[in-house]
């Protein structure tokens, strides 16, 4: 049973809490150091670098979703003047990208899934890479790509995940179409449903959406003077150098990946994109090569967010207390595994939301299909389920005559509560406070602007993990060193994908070492020259790299203070760092003199900090674990909107997004993450869908795949709460992913309020809104209609 609270001490939970009043730099809304160059236009992104003598590379991709390759012929392509090479799978030293599928029994799927770098015998999705062409010019490249001759013999395609799991479905992979399955069984679910005063049921569908970062996948590769294969690419993961080395069959030490400032990631640059192809092209030609995917290619072939079908049955007492959840989830994994099994694990762990769930029965499966592949996307399976559990909360509230806020507060998790999977919540939960915060700021619901308009208000809460799964032995390292003039250098392998990842590290070091942030330089994102810090994914960098920089900075500070203590005879405890000096107890030493003293006394003026994430045992299919994630971030969004009853158009009037971020290291970056995440979620709620027909991806460009423009969105109002209780430095929680969770549910909730009927399929298009309006005639016992 969940709901039992266990006492948890803050110290045991690994919290480095902080008092806001004691902080000098952390918590200040400082301009990020990367802003000026970006605004001047001088930041050099991956595609902006041109290396003299470089070649150009492009992929030839499958035009069909399911086929046998019967013939490949490069002769005509090779005859184009300026073509350097055309590579097929047989030309790849190790033509396999390995994917770990953890915790699965062998009867479900292979413990390791894999895909070919370049398909040789079989293609499983529209857009799968089949050949790599390298040429002197873009023009020659375009001509040659058209001339690569590949014959396909169509095979049956399966394009529905539930049909894919049915008997007799065409097998996408030989071992069957069930890629992964997770189960939770806690308590007596059937007894709980019998004892319930109210039971609500709902089915919900989410769609495939694209990350649609403004920077398409790009990179330049070359062999450096020592023969090290160097790739400067737009990526969230410089550690992919290991995958590249495995594919080429060369030592990991001979591959270097550099991540310059990335033009948006959102999970879409978590799997490899251009890396293996760029590496092959450089390795084969021994020349510099650039590869830039077009927007159309990015929309066609890179993994999307998993479409999910969610079925919920929720049992509750008359006072709103949840007794049980019975949940079934089916996700579309597309043609290859990528990170689908992990995404689905996130769905399973987050499926009951930030609430005590009572007894729980959950089945979550993901199926191979011949649809576009699916993988990481901000929220990583923890966000689709918000649409399910928050819809259930609203329905339950209406059934029982309880307000949306009260039913959530009644069931809200608190420190010491046990999640259905078995993990104990160790940090303070301010869920009720985030609900109160948005309601207090929102005031009254706006009145409709005309007779054929209806307004609605919805709230939605969520929880989202930060930090990686605890059995992945996650770690991050950072090097912090004083220069002799008192300025500071930070080296950390974190890729900066636009969230201020590097800038936050400067602010953390500045707090501990009292060096002004404009005298700190952060070198980041280089697998060879900066200590490895792990992936910029899973809302982990502030937790991991932040703590690594914090630990290195504290060690460095203590070494300097000890040295000054020995020099001056003052006790070290009496001394502290101030800008440009060490002071305390009547002593005042210029930082430069202190550093000279360190060197005279053989005290290093640099430190390497390595932070290790919380540990736990791997899960198996039947989920039961003391710990799955380090911790969670909680929040509540509020949406006011107006529906046009004749057209079904939805106009967003007001949008508030409150999260407890533990401690805002830089409030500007926190606001940016919250507003940006909410905006991306609102695009998914109302506009976005990668249209797929019989496995053919129809999202041919931004004219067919609409993301929100400035006129589609209201001013998003972030509300930042600071419990001081997170596992990051100074008590910070991660905030990269959490804000994308609530918007779909908040919009659906507001439409429910406006029309009395609830949209259950995303995106909530005008047609679906009109369908809700048509259903909303009030009948006895049905949801009330609040149309004015």
């Amino acid at each position: 049973m969940t709901g039992r609270r266990r006492p948890v001490a803050a110290a045991a939970a690994g919290i480095r809490t902080s008092k806001a009043g004691e902080l000098r730099v952390v918590g200040q809304p400082l301009p990020r150091h990367d802003q000026a160059e970006k605004i001047a236009g001088s930041t050099r992104y991956a595609g902006d670098l041109a290396v003299p003598g470089m070649l150009h590379a492009r992929l030839v991709r499958s035009p069909v979703p399911s086929a046998r390759i019967t013939r490949r012929d490069a002769a005509a392509a090779l005859a184009v003047p300026g073509v350097a090479c055309v590579l097929f799978g047989e030309d790849v030293p190790h033509n396999v990208i390995r994917i770990d599928v953890p915790g699965q029994a062998v009867e479900v799927a292979a413990l390791q899934a894999s895909m070919e770098v370049l398909a040789t015998g079989r293609v499983r999705f529209h857009g799968e890479p089949v050949a790599l062409v390298v040429a002197e010019t873009e023009d020659a490249l375009a001509e040659a790509c058209d001339l690569v001759d590949v014959d396909y013999e169509a095979l049956p395609a399966v394009t529905d995940p539930e049909q894919a799991l049915a008997d007799g479905a065409p097998a996408v992979h030989e071992q069957g179409n069930l890629l992964g399955e997770w189960r939770i069984d806690r308590g007596d679910v059937d007894a709980a449903f019998l004892a319930a005063d109210a039971v609500v049921e709902g089915s919900y569908r989410t769609q495939a959406v694209d990350h649609a970062y403004l920077e398409p996948e790009a990179g330049v590769g070359w062999l450096d003077d020592d023969g090290v294969l160097t790739l400067r690419v737009a990526t969230q993961v410089v550690e992919h150098y290991r995958d590249v080395a495995r594919i080429l069959g060369i030592p990991e030490s001979r591959v270097r990946v550099i991540a310059p400032y990335v033009g948006g990631g959102f999970g879409g640059k978590e799997d490899m994109t251009v890396e293996p192809y760029l590496a092959l092209a450089v390795w084969r030609t021994r020349r510099p090569v650039r590869m830039q995917w077009t927007r159309q290619e990015s929309l066609l072939a890179r993994p999307k967010r998993h479409p999910m079908r969610l079925r919920y049955r929720t049992a509750a007492l008359a006072d709103g207390t949840i007794l049980a959840q019975d949940i079934d989830i089916t996700a579309d994994a597309g043609g290859y595994a990528y990170l689908s099994a992990l995404v689905l694990l996130y769905s399973a762990v987050h499926a009951c939301g930030p609430y005590r769930a009572g007894s729980v029965r959950l089945r979550a499966r993901c199926a191979y299909t011949n649809n576009p592949p699916t993988s990481a996307f901000r929220g990583f399976g923890g966000m689709q389920v918000v649409f399910g559990y928050e819809s259930q909360m609203d329905r339950l509230a209406r059934r029982l005559g309880i307000s949306a806020a009260d039913i959530r507060k009644r069931n809200a998790l608190a420190r010491g509560d046990v999640l259905p999977v078995g993990q104990v919540i160790e940090t303070e939960v301010l869920l009720a406070e985030t609900i109160d915060a948005v309601l207090a700021r929102a005031g009254d619901k706006p009145a409709p602007s005309g007779p054929r308009k209806a307004t609605g208000r919805g709230i939605a809460c969520n929880m989202q993990s930060y930090g990686r799964l605890v059995w992945l032995n996650d770690s991050a390292a950072a090097w912090v060193g004083f220069q002799l003039d008192g300025s500071l250098t930070v080296r950390c392998g974190v890729p900066d994908i636009g969230g201020g990842q590097a800038s936050s590290l400067a602010q953390i070091a500045a707090e501990v070492l009292a060096v002004p942030v404009d005298e700190i330089t952060v070198h980041f994102g280089d697998s060879a020259l900066t200590p490895l810090a792990g992936t910029t994914t899973a809302t982990r960098q502030l937790l991991m790299s932040g703590n690594a920089v914090y630990e290195a900075s504290v060690r460095l500070r203590d070494a300097v203070l000890r040295t000054v203590a020995e020099e001056t005879g003052q006790p070290a405890e009496a001394l502290r760092m101030e800008p440009g000096q060490v002071t305390g107890g009547g002593t005042l030493v210029d930082i430069r003199d202190a550093l000279v003293a360190c060197r005279r006394r053989n005290v290093p003026i640099e430190a390497l900090g390595t932070f290790f994430g919380p540990k736990g045992r791997p899960v198996v299919r039947d989920l039961r674990a003391d710990r799955v994630f380090p911790d969670f971030t909680f929040g509540t969004h509020l949406c006011d909107l107006e529906v046009d009853l004749d057209t079904g158009q939805v106009r967003l009037l007001r949008y508030l997004a409150a999260h407890d971020v533990g401690r805002a290291i830089n409030p500007r970056s926190v606001h940016g993450q919250i507003a940006g995440g909410a905006a991306q979620g609102l695009g998914m709620a109302l506009l976005e869908e990668v249209a797929v027909e019989d496995g053919v991806n129809l999202a041919g460009g931004f004219f067919q795949y609409l993301i929100p423009t400035a006129t589609d969105l209201p001013d998003i109002e972030p509300v930042v709460l600071e419990s001081g209780e997170g596992m990051g430095p100074f008590g910070a929680r991660g905030i990269g992913e959490p804000p994308i969770g609530p918007p779909c549910a908040a919009v659906a909730s507001a439409i429910h309020d406006a029309l009395g009927s609830r949209p259950t399929v995303l995106p909530i298009t005008p047609e679906r809104v009109l369908a809700c309006a048509a259903q909303s005639r009030p009948l006895p016992g049905q949801d009330r209609v609040s149309r004015r």
Binding site: P29, P31, R32, D34, Q35, A36, K38, I39, A40, G41, S42, T43, R44, Y45, G47, D48, A50, E138, D139, H211, A212, Y213, L214, E215, P216, Y261, V262, G263, G264, F266, Q292, T294, R295, Q296, I497, G498, G499, G500, R668, S669, H671, G672, A675, G676, A678, A679, Q680, G701, F702, F703, I707, T709, A710, T711, L713, D715, I716
Partner: protein, 177 residues
Amino acid sequence: MSDQVTTTVTVNGHRVSRAAGPHLTLLRWLRDVAGVTDPKYGCGEGICGACTVLVDGVPTSSCLVLAAQVDGAAVTTAAGLLEPDGSLGPLQRAFHAHHAAQCGFCTPGMLVAAAAMLADGRRRSRAEIRAGLHGNLCRCTGYGPIVDAVEAAQAAQPGPAAGPRRDAGVGGAGAGR
């Protein structure tokens, strides 16, 4: 391969003359031939606005015009909004003050679209500023800080001559949205 043509353009006040294939878009010509990389490739079809430049002051999707078509024109990119000493110009300082860039990839196009909008000196409401930027997509910010920055830059620039407010079409590159 087609013969090359020489295109001469004044880029941010500097005369640039380069020979290239006549089929090159202005975006490719700027980036790959002239080495001017602040206009970004985002979609290649005039939707995203990341490649927006000013051609003789008019915001233009540089992925949709050929370089040869703008021979003799003055082209302004985000770098052209800098002060002569290389420091940030007034609009750029407003972007900086309002944290209007996150990943920064849309920023150069967004800046020149905003600059073109502000050039007529007319005071715009927030809704009008949003309409003026609707041809430039941003995936990081939710647009609020960008609108804040343009509003602040508008407030800081010399006021418009008094007169009737015209309901002129808004600026912004990227038709079709």
